[in-house]
């Protein structure tokens, strides 16, 4: 009631027609601005895949390249040491370690390294590895020809596998003024339980239990951290 009166008083000064015209224009402005808000929210979410693509394209944040070996006969003079690092997400009951600590090679040469993973649980589990190199700036020169991280890995209870990675460091790393002083590169992997455990189902009918156990692990993790 009171609100109605208020509205009518504002109309007295401005003229009803004028007000109506104004309020439809206001509505349009608000809709346009609301659209802007939602597109910014969309952009925030799009930033996740965009960020990944950006890293893959530019080698940003130590993202390595996938390549076919082709050194065009170029091999750099000074050799580089590649160190190997392995991590496991604590929700994944696997043991994971590199089988050699380091390899020394010259940029342009191809090398192969092995990692070893063991499933210490009593369930088959699908795992995925994420990876990068440090220092970040050499990402664009670090090329993988074949890697266990390109696909998901499935390990049966107690199974141990040795997984190869073949790689080379682009010889032009020695010509980039930002990277030519680099003498050591660390290649790092982190295994985590894959969200998609459907491959396990093909092996056995225990997939539901696995999911449950992963979920349980997750839940206990949240309740009892550290």
């Amino acid at each position: 009631m009171e609100l109605k009166k208020q509205k009518s008083t504002t109309r007295v000064g401005d003229g009803v027609v004028n007000m109506r015209k104004k309020s439809s224009r206001n509505g349009l402005t608000a809709v346009v601005l609301g659209f802007l808000v939602f597109s910014m929210i969309g952009l925030a979410y799009a930033s996740e895949p965009l960020y990944r693509i950006f890293c893959q394209v530019t080698g940003y944040g130590g993202t390595t390249r996938i390549a076919v070996f082709d050194n065009k006969g170029l091999v750099a003079k000074n050799s580089i040491t590649v160190r190997f690092d392995a991590n496991v997400n604590k929700l994944l009951p696997w043991r994971f370690k590199p089988m050699q600590n380091k390899i020394t090679l010259r940029p342009g040469e191809q090398a192969i390294a092995f990692y070893e993973a063991t499933n210490v649980s009593d369930k088959p589990i699908v795992g995925t590895a994420v990876f990068n190199v440090a220092p970040f700036k050499v990402g664009e020169y670090f090329n993988k020809i074949e890697c266990f991280c390109f696909t998901e890995q499935i390990l049966l209870p107690g199974q141990t596998v040795q997984m190869p990675v073949t790689f080379f460091v682009d010889s032009s790393i020695a010509e980039d003024r930002n990277t030519k002083e680099v003498s050591t590169i660390t290649l790092s992997y982190t295994f985590y339980a894959s969200d998609d455990q459907s491959e396990v189902e093909n092996l056995s009918r225990t997939s539901l239990e696995i999911k449950k156990s992963v979920d349980n692990l997750r839940r206990t993790q949240i309740i009892q951290p550290g």
């Binding site: 009171e2 609100l3 000064g13 601005l33 925030a44 991590n87 997400n89 604590k90 550290g226």
Partner: protein
């Protein structure tokens, strides 16, 4: 209905309904200002506890270091989202945008009401976040992994996230309201290039809010699902990247600091012009300097994250882009000085605070240019030098503009004149206090004192003691402010419609003091002479 004429126009709902259901821009503005003062007491108390704790090396009385972290976090959030933004944007913005552009109210009065009550609810959630499950001790930047379920397993961070969601929703609705009002409802003759600079500032602030807050909302939602629903946006062992959070947060966070300081630019421009009895020097330059600060503010965010491993080219770009902002900022500083130059200056409290603002902003701006250098920042990152820098450039600068706006406009809002001598005393106590508080922190920071830690080596004891004494003096200034408020509200000295005389040329000075419940019912026509 048409028989309701002007003798009824001061009719207003009474009792609690007037406030709870309010759709009146003045009442909503008043509620924002009251909320801001209330939140300032909480946020100020948090900073006093921290300064008292840091008064001497060693742990004095805060036995749980996590509680200190909670204080740091609460202080930051409350001051940014519940003191500065509600006062400068919700408070002065709601009160004076319609008055200055000559329109009866905001475009969407009911949405205005929603904006206010959302921010009130957000404040309650945030205070809860400080007290349950050990509190949220993440700092206002909420970086994962510290803010992840591993290190903050309780509900505190979730409460904080929801508080920010509500405050963000409030800001977005408010921004839509402000922009619509300013674009569509200006009095005839008030073209964009004739709007008061305060209106320019509020328009740009609203656009920054509209573009920056949704990014924060998106990032916070990702953090919420990371914490509670097993996603891994920011968890490296699930394929995510914590650096993504830093990018998203600072893409919001850097415009956010301009959201806090642009309204201050607007207020200071009005006051400097009024008290120098001259139109502002270089009006268009001032307006477009603010515009370019707003635009460039979106492409400099990574200068907050120099230490996370960018390559040289990226750091060079962000250093350059950051330094470019010094140019429009310099235009503003010199235009204010040129406005004062040769003016007939009256040193009343609003003018004292405006000149104080210019001084503090220049000091903070200079250290800002220092920190913009990626190489220098490697050493200064996360030290008290940064704390001193951002408190000068935005915290106490924004505070001074709030005080300035209060003294400038409180006569218009309350109809009472504040006691001038008490206002000046309050200014000098505050000015001495804040400088004593923050200037020594430059030295502590250059000596390497890290921020956000409850204890420090004995070597930093001297500067910290001075800093703490400065904090106590600033607190006296804060208490004096409430004395001024009380004295003004209970005084018998009426404020005139235009208490500042010939220098005050904007439209709010053409209506009575206190401003009637409904104003500008007959649209003012300003075609004959420009507003500025």
């Amino acid at each position: 209905m048409s028989n309701i004429t002007h003798d009824h126009h001061d009719h207003r709902p009474s009792g609690w309904k007037r406030w709870a259901y309010s759709t009146n821009h003045k009442d909503i503005g008043t509620m924002y200002l009251v909320l801001s003062m209330f939140a300032a007491i909480i946020g100020g108390a948090a900073s006093m506890l921290m300064r008292a704790e840091l008064h001497e090396p060693g742990i004095q009385f805060i036995t749980d270091p996590q509680f200190y972290n909670v204080l740091v976090t609460a202080h930051g959030f409350i001051m940014v989202f519940f003191v500065v933004m509600p006062a400068l944007i919700g408070g002065f913005g709601n009160w004076f945008i319609p008055l200055m552009i000559g329109t009866p109210d905001m475009a969407f009065p009911r949405m205005n009401n929603v904006s206010f009550w959302l921010v009130a609810a957000a404040l309650i959630l945030l205070v809860i976040a400080g007290f349950i499950d050990g509190g949220a001790g993440t700092g206002w930047t909420v970086y994962p992994p510290l803010s992840s379920a591993d290190y903050h397993p309780g509900m505190a961070v979730d409460f904080g996230i929801l508080a920010l969601h509500l405050a963000g929703a409030s800001s977005i609705l408010g921004a839509i309201n402000f922009i619509t009002t300013i674009i569509n409802m200006r009095a005839p003759g008030m073209t964009f290039h004739r709007m008061p600079l305060f209106i320019w500032a509020m328009l740009l602030t609203a656009f920054l809010l509209l573009l920056a807050i949704p990014v924060l909302a998106g990032a916070l939602t990702m953090l919420l699902t990371d914490r509670n629903f097993g996603t891994a946006f920011f968890a490296p062992d699930g394929g995510g990247d914590p650096v993504l959070w830093q990018h998203l947060f600072w893409f919001f966070g850097h415009p956010e600091v301009y959201i806090m300081i642009l309204p201050a630019f607007g207020i200071i421009s009005e006051i400097v012009s009024t008290f120098s009895k001259k139109p502002i020097f270089g009006y268009l330059g001032m307006a477009y300097a603010m515009t370019s600060i707003g635009v460039v503010g979106f492409v400099v965010w990574a200068h907050h994250m120099y230490t996370m491993g960018f390559n040289v080219e990226t750091r060079a770009y962000f250093t350059l882009a950051t330094m470019v902002i010094a140019v429009p900022t310099g235009i503003k500083i010199f235009s204010w000085l040129a406005t004062m130059w040769g003016g007939s200056i009256k040193f009343d409290t609003p003018m004292l605070y405006s000149m104080g603002f210019i001084f503090l902003f220049v000091v903070g701006g200079v250290t800002g240019v220092t920190l913009a250098n990626a190489g220098v920042d490697m050493a200064f990152h996360d030290t008290y030098f940064v704390v001193a820098h951002f408190h000068y450039v935005l915290s106490i600068s924004a505070l001074f503009s709030m005080y300035a706006g209060f003294y400038y406009w409180f006569g218009k809002m309350s109809g009472k004149r504040y006691p001038e001598w008490l206002g000046r005393l309050q200014f000098w106590v505050t000015f001495v206090g804040v400088n004593l508080l923050f200037f020594p922190q430059h030295f502590a920071g250059m000596a390497g004192m890290p921020r956000r830690i409850i204890d420090y080596p004995d070597a930093y004891a001297g500067w910290n003691m001075i800093s703490s004494w400065g904090a106590y003096i600033s607190a006296v200034g804060g208490i004096l402010f409430f004395v001024v408020l009380y004295k003004t509200l209970t005084s018998n000295v009426k404020a005139e419609a235009n208490e500042w005389g010939v220098g005050a040329t904007t439209l709010e000075w053409t209506v009575d003091s206190p401003a009637p419940f409904h104003t500008h019912e007959v649209t003012p026509n300003i075609i004959p002479e420009p507003a500025e």
